[in-house]
């Protein structure tokens, strides 16, 4: 994941339950300038669909997502 290196900020929501991964992502997104990216890490099973849904709802862009060892990673670009 080369793009991961470029992420302006990382949201560590590992161990957090719904709705915290989304709330933490929303908070982090506020700090970003349009075009900047952030990496969201979560372990809550709901995040698998919730983060893409939140990205969709807010008009941001999901660049890539992956899952490894129970940790989901989402690279998101702010619109």
């Amino acid at each position: 994941m080369e793009a991961t290196e470029a992420a302006k900020t990382t949201v560590d929501a590992k161990g957090q339950s719904c709705p915290m991964p989304v709330l933490m992502s929303a908070k982090a997104a506020k700090e970003l300038a349009p075009g900047e990216t952030m990496l969201i890490e979560a372990t809550d099973n709901g995040a698998r669909s919730d983060i893409p849904a939140w990205v969709d709802q807010t008009g941001n862009e999901l660049i890539e997502s992956s899952e490894e060892g129970g940790v989901m990673r989402f690279l998101v670009r702010k619109k």
Binding site: Q16, S17, P19, L23, S25, A26, W54, Q57, T58
Partner: protein, 166 residues
């Protein structure tokens, strides 16, 4: 052709928080905070039993006469004292539910309530219920909107994409 101005406004959700039960406060707080995170304009209108969780936890009793005081006693004002909607078993139910939630890293409703407020969710107490049950503004938590009535709540609901009664 004029543009539809509604399309330029953020999506909106209104929740009528009728219940003061712990297991109903949770979805109210989860949905309101998440909707705010989604960029929606969110309003929660607290009415009837839903008003008791807005009373400060250190206020033991509300009301202006024996009956309203007794109702407050039976409903345990304060969000931290909220009971389960069924099988509360004299407090065992909500105690266990909170334990299970904490173990699974689910924030308690009072924390999600604070987060929701921070994200700009409008918290509207029902004026009529406040008068009916004798709940004074100074007995309620900070950061609430002005008390409003049914017509104001309905106007908000009429302009909302999502309206829920919980």
């Amino acid at each position: 052709m004029s543009e539809n101005p509604v399309n330029t406004e953020p999506e909106s959700m209104t929740i009528i928080a009728f219940s003061g039960d712990l297991d109903k406060l949770w979805p109210t707080m989860i949905l309101s905070s998440t909707a705010a995170a989604n960029g929606m304009d969110v309003t929660v209108f607290y009415t009837f039993w839903g008003l008791f969780p807005l009373v400060k936890d250190d206020v033991r009793i509300t009301g202006y006469d024996s009956m309203t005081k007794m109702l407050a006693g039976m409903n345990a004002p304060g969000m931290k004292k909220a009971k389960l909607s069924k099988m509360d078993m004299g407090g065992m139910g909500h105690w266990m539910m909170r334990k299970v939630a904490a173990k699974n890293n689910l924030l308690p409703p009072e924390d999600l309530f604070e987060l929701s407020k921070d994200m700009g969710v409008n918290m509207w107490p029902c004026q009529m219920t406040m008068d009916l049950l004798g709940i004074e503004p100074h007995q309620m938590v900070d950061g609430l909107g002005e008390p409003v009535g049914a017509a104001t709540a309905l106007k908000k609901m009429a302009n909302s994409n999502i309206s829920l009664f919980i």
